[in-house]
């Protein structure tokens, strides 16, 4: 099974949940920006959560399915349609061979994820399918997808394929057939262009001026156009240290908020470096990272402080919710669509 890119989007890459175990060698973790959307997309097509998906940014690509296939699209609403018909997000659906998936404008969010049953097949580099563009490694030939690329998909379970074929035969006139069940809206994130993000104090929080700390916790910041998979630059009131701080590089992670001398905080994201030497004023809690991943330049953000204990509870609750979701989806699978 394969997919053919007819028209490239703004930035479309193959990603999984990241490249771990090599950060000690300076190898950037990469992986999807919105973990929640990518994991759910995979669950909906009966994949491992870590299977490789396509991450599409702002303007999605056009692509053609070369065989009948089960897919799901999760994350931001980039106006997806198949052969001219709007397709639902966060839903399993069968797609007929030869149909073309297109995207339009970004109605909400910034990144969408296409999961295909079996998972996208690329050569793993250091155990991961994630693309890291700066070092040209992973994903599809270490680069973003472009027109003419043919992307392979791993084989799926044959019993599965039978069910799918049956479904396709019953609806011969349709290009795609969404499954009758779907995830309740209450379980899904709402991507707004102005968000409240929960943070914990960063290691160097106390080294910032009182006024700057107040700004961080009370004012609105805007996503600067100079934002990408490595980091979002946010602008607003200047954030300043009380006095110059000599720091030796230490580890940083997804969601670490560093403040370089220009006074504009940077939120480190999927393609962050493994270590950093700028003071860390805050750390975004894991559960809110997907909301940031879906922000576009010009969108705004406010911060609310919570404790580590609260953040840990939120983390566990999310993982519990996801495992419940996984169970429910698996039951659906067993019962048929």
């Amino acid at each position: 099974m394969s997919l053919k890119i007819l028209k490239q989007g703004l930035l479309t890459t193959v990603q999984d949940l990241g490249r771990y175990g090599f950060q000690k060698y300076g190898v950037v973790a990469s992986g999807v920006m919105d973990h929640f959307a990518a994991r759910v997309a995979n669950l909906l097509v009966h994949n491992e959560e870590n299977a490789a998906v396509m991450e599409m940014t702002m303007i999605g690509p056009s692509l053609q399915f070369q065989e009948d296939v089960l897919i799901s699209i999760c994350g931001g609403d980039l106006s997806a349609s198949i052969d001219g018909v709007v397709v639902p997000l966060w839903r399993s659906m069968m797609v007929r061979s030869g149909s073309v998936l297109r995207f339009g404008s970004a109605k909400s969010g910034c990144r969408a994820y296409l999961a295909v049953a079996g998972g996208i097949s690329v050569e793993k580099v250091m155990g991961s399918s994630s693309t890291y563009l700066r070092a040209s490694i992973g994903g599809f030939q270490g680069r973003a997808l472009k027109q003419g690329d043919v992307i392979s998909v791993n084989q799926v379970d044959p019993t599965w394929q039978q069910k799918a074929n049956f479904l396709m035969q019953r609806n011969p006139s349709k290009s795609f057939i969404p499954f009758s069940w779907y995830i309740s809206e209450h379980s899904l994130p709402v991507y707004r262009s102005n968000v409240m993000i929960r943070i914990m104090r960063g290691r160097e929080f106390e080294y910032f001026q009182e006024e700057s700390k107040d700004h961080l916790l009370n004012d609105t910041f805007t996503i600067h156009p100079q934002s990408d998979r490595m980091a979002y630059r946010i602008t607003g009131p200047q954030i300043k240290l009380k006095s110059q701080l000599n720091m030796i590089s230490e580890a940083v992670t997804m969601g670490t908020i560093q403040v370089p001398p220009d006074g504009s905080p940077r939120i480190l994201l999927a393609d962050r470096q493994t270590t950093g030497g700028y003071p860390r004023i805050a750390q975004v809690v894991s559960i809110d990272l997907p909301l940031i991943a879906q922000l576009k330049p010009g969108d705004t953000i406010m911060f609310q402080e919570i404790s580590l204990e609260e953040a840990e509870m939120l983390y566990m609750q999310l993982e519990k919710d996801l495992s419940v979701l996984k169970k429910i989806i698996q039951e659906r699978w067993i019962r048929g669509h």
Binding site: Q23, K24, Y25, V27, I248, S249, E250, A251, V252, E309
Partner: protein, 249 residues
């Protein structure tokens, strides 16, 4: 060794052990010992370990930590704390470190790196020489006489942060960074020397280039260097550079 030790979280999935805020042999020894201990006997739930100059960061899966380490903390004074994966990691690490023996740096590898300090490979050599009021040859001599220690890898895949450069050739970064510095470029920034491991933008003063590949993503050990390695440079001509480069293909 562990008197200035501090623990802190970065997010809810990583804990940092910081052995001091100054780079010296003691903190470095502690970083190395703990990394080694955690590699030999990983704490359950660990995803990966990242040593830096003065810290060791342990990334973990909070659920796995909670599920597999509960017994260990049962005897703790405060039983209520055991639902926090961070606190579990904290207490396990504290115990681990208190049982850790202070030992001098164990055996290490010395890697000899050929560097061509000529022509287009050394666009800033003149500047470095002039800045330090030295002849070019003297800069090369000082650079190749040094014995360098790789403290950590970071900044880019396989990029070594090295200590041990003579202050006689220290030179500030370029005011205007280059938009592209080729991999293999050997540079100076302040009192540090380093080697670009991949093509990237950069502001270091470039004094030479090595034909060795520092980042080999498809090999089992994907980087030429590891933390703890010693490095020595030796000069080669343009012809030798071409020869070595050819052999690597």
């Amino acid at each position: 060794m562990t008197s200035n030790m501090q623990f802190y979280p970065i997010g809810e999935r990583a804990i940092v052990v910081k052995f001091g805020s100054e780079l010296n042999e003691n903190t470095y020894e502690a970083v190395t010992s703990l990394s080694k201990s955690l590699k030999q006997k990983p704490i359950r739930g660990t995803i990966e370990i990242v040593p830096t100059f003065t810290t060791v960061t342990i990334y973990y899966d909070p659920i796995a930590v909670l599920n597999s380490n509960q017994l260990k903390t049962k005897g703790n004074l405060n039983n209520q704390l055991t639902r926090s994966p961070y606190k579990i990691m904290h207490s396990i690490l504290q115990e681990r470190i208190s049982n850790m023996e202070a030992r001098p740096l164990a055996e290490y590898r010395t890697i000899k790196i050929p560097v061509c300090y000529e022509g287009d490979f050394a666009p800033d050599l003149d500047y470095v020489a002039a800045h330090n009021k030295l002849k070019k040859e003297k800069v090369i001599q000082i650079h190749t006489e040094g014995d360098y220690l790789v403290y950590m890898l970071g900044f880019a895949p396989g990029f070594p942060y090295m200590g041990g450069m003579s202050s006689e050739i220290a030179t500030p970064r370029r005011k205007k960074p280059r938009s592209l510095v080729s991999s293999g470029s050997v540079g100076i920034a302040g009192e540090q020397t380093g080697i670009y491991s991949i093509d990237s933008p950069g502001g270091w003063q470039i004094i030479g280039r090595t034909p060795f590949k520092l980042f080999k993503p498809k090999e089992e050990q994907p980087t030429l260097f590891q933390a703890g390695d010693r490095i020595q440079f030796y000069p080669i001509s343009l012809e030798e550079y071409a020869e070595i480069e050819e052999k690597q293909k």
